[in-house]
Amino acid sequence: MISGAEIVIRCLQEEKVDCVFGYPGGSVLHIYDALFKQDEVKHVLVRHEQAAVHAADAYSRSSQKVGVALVTSGPGVTNTVTGIATAYMDSIPMVVLCGQVPTQYIGQDAFQECDTVGITRPCVKHNFLVKDVKDLAITIKKAFHIAATGRPGPVVVDIPKDITAQMCDFDYPKTIQMRSYNPVVKGHLGQIKKAVQVLQEAKRPIIYTGGGVILSDAADKLTQLARKLDFPVTNTLMGLGGYPATDRQFVGMLGMHGTFEANNAMHYADVILAVGARFDDRVIGNPEHFSGEKRRVIHIDIDPSSISKRVKVDVPIVGNVADVLDEMLKLLDGGFKADPEVSDWWKQIDAWRGRNSLAYRQSNHIMPQYVVEKLYEVTGGDAFITSDVGQHQMFAAQYYKFDKPRRWINSGGLGTMGVGLPYGMGVLMANPNAQVACVTGEGSIQMCIQEMSTCKQYGLPVKIINLNNGMLGMVRQWQEMFYSKRYSQSYVTSLPDFVKLAEAYGHVGMRIEKPEDVEPALRKAFTEHKDDLVFMDFIIDPGANVFPMVAAGKGLTEMILAEDL
């Protein structure tokens, strides 16, 4: 017999978890003690529980593994909520283990008690309160199973302290059956055949793909399919890297800050093949405007509730992207003949491309777009790029051409400022020798800046690319355009000296103020300071805005372009 705390650790070992992000406290002391007595599972001590969850989330996004966080009851748990909600919105598999007050104290407003299951319920895929040590191992097994299968998501396991002290036999089930949980994997063959038929008839097709392709590890299959069809491909923000961005068939990201060609191609397509993408409101613009065009929609998604939620779907296919694409590829093996009119469609798309909607004006200041372009060059297009939320996030998405999946790590659904640095930590724990850059802003970086300390302790050489405009730039852009330049609370005064701050934490700091210094500084950071965390404070043009832009309430084709201004 072993203790509940040891059971927790044994479960993690059985799940091949090599790293847990966490922060100790009273209710998890037994678990931390069990952790101390072994060395299979490493632990990264963060400086704030929010960062533990973000790091576990990025560990998962940048690998195929389930990220794990471990926190104490009460404030430990409440600090994780933003991180859990962030992972939930982007369907990221994750297990969060939380301490709870001893069973007999639950409900008595005990010290550091909170209703963990109640607080997290709306932002988890599922959660459990373990009430008996005999259920502990099977509950953790279920948690990993639920997190990683079907539409992935975070699962919380709340473990009262007394349970971690009780003794029990350890038996970890190899597999698990749940009568109430059986996600569909294979798509319906009849529907897939119908889809192929519709693709044959398409005259103005588009392949629109999202996070589901990344989550399903189906980028290769998608690429094969797209090549076979020779149709244009667009990605959502979450889908970037699912199809090589440098490929001729790629028309760029679509949506609020999508390219002119992607948004027009999406809007005027007569057939949309949607793959693991959920027709988000940032993607289709005004839904009435979008439904103004007649088209047929094929939608592959593992979650039936994503289908026909916001856009009426003609050929729904419920299933795992990788499995469904396999079937499609088999059906297409006999040869595919696209409608001859598709070549006219390509001409139209090339004309839209000719607008060069991502062109931007240089100025005496450093332009943020330019920094990202140089970052792309210096890293050979092969870095993991994490980002925070704001203009810098959009610039990173637009100008860093992701050719591989799981390289673009950002918060799309919840849009959580502060994720960038902990995301960098999670990526590095999962991919120890990778180049990792965190593209951020002076607003966002300050939301989890304390993690520079964690990076020092564990030697995590994130390159922080701070696109410092002295503004909550994304907010300022909206105020400039829609609130007659009333810049209410979007100007960040009293910024710290980021160079000194980095140095205070024991890292390297650089301030870059001139365009000609951008590239040399980046080279230096990625060569000479390869193994250091480098805080690169780029003082950028404070007036730079993100274009194209589909304003709130506007149709997808009603974009504001940089050239209009």
């Binding site: 319920r121 599922h126 639920i146 539409r151 749940m178 109430s180 509730s305 939620k309």
Partner: protein, 163 residues
């Protein structure tokens, strides 16, 4: 349109709050909700009376199915079914009203299950509309208290909801 959703759900602590939370978080309507364990005590059967457009009902159905504790969901109102609701209603029963109350209960096939000098408790089951008409048929000033269970329903004939 009015729909009756029947759900088989794991009889776990918190399962009810997952369903109730889903409805409030997504802005779906709940007119009534009843729940109790089935003949298999590990399962509960829940009946929800809701309304909404076809699109909303499609989402309700899909979102309920997504809950990990939910085993099965059917929309009873899609085919032949029977539905019942139980009401206990306490009324003032004095003087000439005493006789009148008894008569009303008989007409609606209700039963008087508690009697004092001045009150009756009447038990009435039936379709919700029948309970509504009973209430409408009484002098409002005589109604002291009503308690209704909310609708529960079951498919007719071979339509069976079971794991």
């Amino acid at each position: 349109m009015r729909h009756i959703i029947s759900i088989l759900i794991e009889n776990e602590a918190g399962a009810l709050s997952r369903v109730a939370g889903l409805f409030s978080a997504r802005g779906y309507n709940i007119e009534s909700l009843t729940v109790a364990p089935t003949e298999d005590p590990s399962l509960s059967r829940m009946t929800i009376l809701t309304w909404g457009s076809d699109e909303v009902l499609e989402q309700i159905n899909k979102q309920l199915n997504k809950l990990v504790d939910v085993v099965k969901v059917v929309d009873l109102s899609e085919a032949a079914h029977v539905e019942r609701e139980l009401m206990l209603i306490k009324v003032r029963a004095t003087g000439k009203d005493r006789e009148e109350m008894k008569r009303m209960a008989d007409i609606f096939r209700g039963r008087i299950i508690d009697v004092t000098e001045s009150t009756y408790v009447i038990e009435l089951t039936g379709a919700s509309s029948k309970l509504d008409s009973f209430i409408a048929g009484l002098d409002a000033g005589l109604i002291l208290e009503t308690v209704r269970t909310g609708v529960c329903g079951i498919g007719r004939g071979d339509r069976i909801l079971k794991v």
